[in-house]
Amino acid sequence: MARGEAKSNGEGNGAATEHLLALRGFSKSFGPVRALHEVDFEVDAGEIVALVGDNGAGKSTLIKAIDGVQPPDSGQAYFDGKRVRISTPQAAESLGIATVFQDLALCDNLDVVANLFLGKEVVDGVPVHVLDEVDMEQRSNQLLSDLSVTTLGSVRTEVGSLSGGQRQSVAIARTLIGEPKVVLFDEPTAALGVAQTAQVLALVKRLKDEGLGIVMISHNLEDVFQVADRIIVLRLGERVATFDREKVSPETVVAAITGADTAEMRRLEEQDQKGEEKTDD
């Protein structure tokens, strides 16, 4: 059973509590435009969920609803089994939901340490908040070596002089300073070269191994098939399919994205199942 709607309907609201983060019936309209319609969504700890779909399918709207930038019109959110309201980015952050933005929100004029701790600086002294540079530098080194980011050289390098992949690594590492449980990636490999893409995807996998729940928007199915555990397809604001990455072919996912007719979908899925059985033997 790979069809998403049937699966999620079967689970119902009661089962929402089993997931790290679960959304039920999220809808969002911009005037007459229906950007999201009754979308269910869930991600578990230690899982990478890829969110795919054509332009205007509602991926970014869904991400913005999750990280509190643009709350939905209706729908319920559950975090760690508890009903929560994510109405602001601050609320998302305090729950443990962090976002790595597509356009790399880094300050080029500051060094790696300053960027990692931006807005979360370690200070001592109560009336005057004096920066504790030694502590921040130590923790930066620790964090980057935990993530096996070794290409940076010195953490005192200005971020403006780093390559695209290095900058993305810093942007990803930065979200971990707040010790999040769910990390959202908006096109993490857009505009990166081959080697840098591999570097960033390895980093995403490492976060999964740490037990974080990962949600990744991507246009690049090659990337998706490299790292994702589940693939959720949005089309015209609705969740139209959910696939187990190991049991699906890229052709089927493309068909779901573009909205091929039901007969064609069924044929492709059956083909995938057969392929699966063959490899099982």
Partner: protein, 402 residues
């Protein structure tokens, strides 16, 4: 190991990065260019007139740069945000005018009059910050309006008399108090020991934390440089009238704001907003609050500079804060390396820039040349400094690509 042209290029780049020449080209050695420029200017004027490097003239020079230097401190903070404040000259005049009217015509105590003058500056900064952040009007326009309006306000405050002379009081003492050998040498020893102590303490902390410690030679070099400047400077000042209170105020304020910008969370947030305001906002920094606070500091420092200028002139008149005050206060930090585009620069550039501009102005007056020459030379130095800066920036980005 890498071989080939690429490897060689990389090695070359590394060479340029570690070598002294490379560091100069990348602008890493900080103020060395400004020191060189200052040395050249002083040498030329000394050759042209041997009274330039006398104790009397150097003391005068220091007194001349205090007002502009203090205004420039505020300018640096505003420039770090990537904003500009064109009203600083008018604000310095207006706040000095308010202070003068309160103490001379209304009989207020000088302390209270100074305080109200400074608060008037803060209030103006609040207005600038409010229009800039709340209505999103570019600071250039807000403060251009301020430049015109506050000049008018100064005329209003001064009333029919036009000029208010300041009787001897705390206000005039600000620039006419000189300290003797005791205070002077103590200051030199404290600053030198402080530089060494901070350097060594920081090094020890990093060693304890297993971080790469800064080279000892660098700390010694900095201490020797600061120590030499302090002891020679104090020696020269003492051989004339003594160490001026005004200079101590200027150095104290520079040190205070250098500490705030480089070592505190608020300072880090200023650089972040100037570097990428959207990134700062997403990181949870309250950008509006940072902006408004910086505009308040900028205008308050302008008021402080205006009060120092009034103290030195012993009067406030209709032209207080007009003329080249605004341009010099902005040109100084830019000459000494603070970027007009935000996020790059230090508070020390206020002091050094004021010294460069003050030296040119002082030297030309000493030679008896016209103001026309002074303006043209100052403009030329500004253009040369910014060009040099652009070249070093380009070098830096080229090297970092390898």
């Amino acid at each position: 190991m890498e071989g080939g042209v690429a490897g060689q290029l990389r090695a070359l780049g590394k060479d340029a990065q570690s070598g002294f020449l490379g560091r100069i080209l990348r602008g890493d050695v900080g103020f060395i260019q400004v020191f060189i420029a200052l040395a050249v200017i002083w040498t030329i004027f000394q050759l042209a007139n041997d009274r330039f490097l006398t104790a009397v003239n150097l003391t005068n020079l220091m007194l001349q740069v205090t007002a502009i230097g203090i205004i420039s401190i505020g300018v640096v903070l505003v420039l770090l945000l990537g904003e500009i404040d064109l009203s600083i000259g008018a604000v310095s005049g207006l706040c000095a005018g308010i202070m003068a009217v309160l103490t001379v015509q209304h009989g207020w105590s000088p302390e209270l009059a100074i305080l109200v003058g400074l608060l008037a500056g803060s209030a103006i900064g609040l207005i600038n910050g409010f229009f800039n952040t709340f209505f999103g009007i570019p600071s250039f326009v807000v403060t251009l309006a301020g430049l015109i309006a506050w000049q008018g306000a100064l005329l209003l405050v001064l009333g029919d008399t036009g000029t208010i002379n300041l009787p001897p009081s705390l206000i005039t003492d600000l620039t006419s108090t000189f300290y003797g050998a005791g205070v002077g040498w103590t200051l030199a020893v404290l600053v030198t020991a402080g530089t060494l102590g901070v350097g060594l303490l920081g090094r020890r902390r990093r060693q304890k934390a297993n971080l790469e410690p800064p080279p000892l030679a660098g700390i010694v070099f900095r201490t020797v440089l600061v120590g030499a400047a302090m002891f020679i400077g104090v020696g020269i000042l003492l051989s004339d009238r003594g160490v001026p209170l005004a200079v101590i105020i200027l150095l104290g304020l520079t040190g205070l704001f250098a500490f705030i910008t480089e070592r505190t969370r608020f300072g880090r947030h200023i650089y972040a907003v100037g570097g990428n305001a959207e990134a700062a906002r997403r990181a949870g920094i309250r950008v509006t609050r940072v902006r408004v606070t910086v505009f308040v500091i900028g205008s308050t420092m302008a008021a402080a500079g205006g009060i120092m200028a009034a103290s030195r002139l012993i009067a406030v008149n209709q032209s207080s804060g007009s003329g080249d005050v605004l341009l010099n206060a902005i040109a100084g930090p830019v000459i000494a390396g603070t970027s007009l585009f935000g996020g790059r620069g230090t508070v020390w550039s206020a002091l050094l820039g004021a010294l460069v501009i003050g030296s040119i102005s002082n030297g030309i007056n000493l030679l008896g040349l016209e103001s026309s020459v002074r303006f043209m030379i100052t403009g030329g130095v500004l253009l040369a400094a910014v060009t040099l800066d652009a070249i070093t920036r380009r070098r830096r980005s080229q090297i970092s690509v390898t």
